[in-house]
Amino acid sequence: MDSNTDIEDLKREFIFSLRRKFPRDSSSSIAIMTVNLIRKIIFRENPRTMADLQRSLTSHCKRLHASERSELIIINIGLMISKLARDEVLQKRGGREPEPLYSLWRDDDETMERLKNADMKKIRKDLQASIKELSTEIESSRDCIASQSTELLFNNDIVMVHSLATSKTMHSFLTHAVKSGRKHRVIDVVDEEEHLETAPDFVTPIELFEVASRMPETSKVVLVAAAYFPDGSCLVPAGGHQIALLAKRHCVPVYVLAPFYKLCPFFMTDPASLHSFRSNTLPFDMSANSAGHVDCLHPAFDALQSDLVTLFVSNTSCIIPSHVNRLKEDYYHSQDIADF
């Protein structure tokens, strides 16, 4: 019981810390926090078999996700850890992982049973080590992505970016390119007038409505993903959809920075279910008259379809949208996804 309440406390604390921070923390720090949280949970719960582990992971992740609908990272991390556990089990047993091609008919019942009842004790240490590795990988993903900027951005490029202020990944991506001696111009699409003043030196800030007139002179567009899905579509911060449409019209390549922990193994058919609307945008002096009559929408995300994205820049490499489905196999186990 103690461990249960402990776990509940941990979870509650985690959720509160997420909600307390405004503006939102960077995704990588949320990912790391989730990793730590799950590690602690596993430590406290001490599941004996694989099946137990999976059950506990799914239930915790589902509940966490239900309280923070827009944070898909939580589920991702949970599933990744589950895959790590499976890998460990397989390794211990010395078996090869069944090839994806044969996985449909190779896994007979017996293998499944054995897998489920595999003893956790043996692999616990290794699992902990893998989880630590996972968090290191998350930490280093930003630098890995930044290092790819030299391959994507060239001299005399005019790069249009969005949400430079809110994304550290984007920032490091561009500064890395600038440091390596690339001479390119950066146009940043900013949200409000105030951000126009605080933009870093190497960018020219413009507002969202000016994008259409600057697109013909742009040679590359770089966006940050909030999440990306196996079909190659992705969620980007609001406003990204128009930028991508305009880029397509002018045949400008769109690169989406997408570290691996944002890869969601599930399709998201309806972004509205993410409950990601923000505050009111009407000016205050209109509030008296407009109360009850005006519905202000301020979405946080836009859904980009896969044909609008040229490349996903992940920490390992750049991938084309159609390859994302294959890539998810690296991080998630299909059984987990099926059972979710």
Binding site: D191, E192, E193, E207, L208, F209, E210, V211, A212, S213, P216, A238, G239, H241, Q242, L245, L246, R249, T281, L282, P283, M286, N289, S290, G292, H293, V294, D295, C296, L297, H298, P299, D302
Partner: protein, 511 residues
């Protein structure tokens, strides 16, 4: 921009130009003598070009200097006429010098030479008001001569145009208007002695009446006017107010600009007609004189063509000029009456009745669409929406605004004031709004001949998202917004009287 061809042209037949300048110097000296001016006014030909045009806006502006006496006005008119004649003189010299070949070169140069030399002459001319009356009479005589010559010119236009059709450059540059005009004069043989002649390049009798735009017509007069310290004195205060308002970005849309312009013009007309009555000038030249009088006003509005009028306003101005030229009444008062009536009609046809007609047509169409999306402010769209909301009970409106607390809030306000509910999104949510909506209604600034639409910034993005979700886009426009031009490149369509940052998007008709 117009400077560069001059610089390159300078290099070619330098000798020819030198000859031309010699001739010019002589003829201008003569002019000066006739006007009783000392020889200092004949300066050397300037090194370069359009700097003279752009340079000297005087520091001390007298925006509301209303004490313009009749005499002063006459003197100024005479001065203008004299300058034009001087220019005609130069063009004569040009013809003589460069009869055979490249038509473009000497014309710009001597024009500018003339402009520079006219500036110092302006002051002494204004003083010489005694000569004014003489000049006016000579003016009249020469109008007749010009009309004869105009007939000759028309026949020569054909010749000219076949020559210039091969020259691609001139089709694109804005300055071709002036060059063309001067070129027409090119082949006409003028009487050799120094005579004051009405400037052919100002009288647009030739076929190319419409399409060069207001700016290019006025360019030659404007330059000579605005160098003076009291240059703003002859600009009517109504226009000055209009200009000031637009600089302060107090005017939200093209329709308001047009309405204000028409009202300013009405004021100007009233004052001008009254003055004419006082001077008891002949009503037969009413149209012509008004045309001349309005040019510096318009030039000031467009800042010598630097900020061309909005397309729709250009249309209105053109129609207005046409009506002015056709005015033919007995007395000054009647002429004034006619024009005032015309202006009233324009206002009502183009604005109030137009809105009603448009909304009648449109409400039928959008009846089937329950969810309407609009982008940014346009008074026509607002009118339509309000009408539609009254007739269609369950219509839901979403307003996309270019930036937060932008002009889209006017739509919101108008709806909320009547107690209707409305959804509001900024540009970030344009995608969401389109996904949710059934039709997008846009206002515009102008519709070009190839079907392209010039609309507010951000309209293109909204239209693309609408396209993406397969919802129809309807553009509403009054008929004066249809322009006979084609805009292929989407560069900086500066929305003119709104200067600063209200640039305009070009939506190609392919959408």
């Amino acid at each position: 921009m117009s400077g560069n061809p001059n610089i390159t042209e300078k290099k070619h037949p330098a000798d020819k130009i030198k000859e031309t300048f010699e001739k010019l110097k002589d003829e201008l000296k003569n002019l000066g003598m006739i006007l009783g001016v000392n020889n200092e006014s004949t300066t050397q030909p300037p090194a370069a070009s359009t700097h003279s045009e752009e340079s000297t806006k005087p520091d001390d502006k007298n925006p509301y200097h209303k004490d313009v006496t009749a005499d002063d006005k006459k003197a100024r008119k005479a001065a203008k006429a004299a300058e034009k004649k001087a220019r005609a003189e130069k063009s004569v010299a040009n013809k003589a010098a460069a009869a055979a070949g490249n038509t473009q070169q000497p014309q710009k140069k001597p024009e500018q030479v003339g402009k520079n030399q006219e500036k110092p002459k302006q002051e002494p001319k204004k003083v010489a008001s005694e000569n004014a009356e003489k000049l006016i009479e000579e003016n009249r005589q020469l109008t007749k001569t010009t009309e004869q010559l105009a007939a000759q010119m028309e026949s020569l236009v054909v010749v000219e145009e076949t020559k210039t059709n091969g020259d691609l450059k001139s089709a694109i540059k804005k300055t071709t208007g002036v060059e063309k005009n001067v070129r027409h004069v090119h082949n006409v043989i003028m009487p050799s002695a120094v005579t004051f002649d009405l400037p052919k390049n100002q009288v647009k009798i030739v076929a190319s009446d419409s399409d060069e735009g207001v700016a290019s017509e006025i360019e030659s007069t404007a330059i000579s006017q605005l160098d003076d310290a009291t240059c703003l004195a002859h600009i009517h205060p109504a226009f000055l107010t209009l200009l000031a308002q637009s600089e302060l970005e107090k005017i939200p849309d093209v329709e308001t600009v047009c309405i204000k312009f028409i009202e300013a013009f009405k004021e100007f007309l009233r004052d001008w007609t009254a003055e004419r009555e006082k001077n008891q000038t002949d009503a037969s030249t009413f149209g012509h004189d008004l045309d001349l009088a309005i040019r510096p006003q318009l030039a000031h509005l467009t800042q010598n063509g630097h900020w061309p009028l909005p397309f729709a306003l250009g249309n209105t101005v053109r129609l207005l000029k046409r009506t002015i030229k056709r005015v033919d009444d007995q007395t000054n008062a009647e002429c004034g009456e006619t024009l005032q009536n015309y202006l009233e009609d324009t206002l009502s046809i183009n604005f109030s009745s137009a809105y009603k007609a448009i909304s009648q047509l449109l409400v039928r169409k959008i009846r089937q669409f329950k969810k309407v999306v609009v982008f940014d402010w346009c008074p026509v769209v607002n009118h339509v929406l309000l009408d539609a909301r009254e007739q269609i009970e369950d219509m839901q409106l979403t307003v996309i605004d270019a930036n937060s607390s932008g002009r889209g809030t006017r739509h919101v306000k108008s709806f909320v004031d009547r107690g209707y509910s409305v959804k509001y999104v900024t540009m970030k949510g344009a995608s969401w709004a389109s996904r949710d909506g059934a039709v997008l209604i846009l206002g515009c600034s102008a519709i070009f001949a190839n079907g392209a639409v010039a609309a507010q910034k951000g309209a293109l993005a909204s239209v693309l998202t609408a396209n993406h979700y397969n919802i129809p886009v309807i553009v509403v426009a009054e008929h004066f917004k249809f322009i006979d031009k084609v805009c292929l490149f989407r560069l900086k369509l500066f929305n003119e009287l709104k200067r600063k940052r209200r640039l305009v998007d070009l939506i190609c008709s392919m959408i």
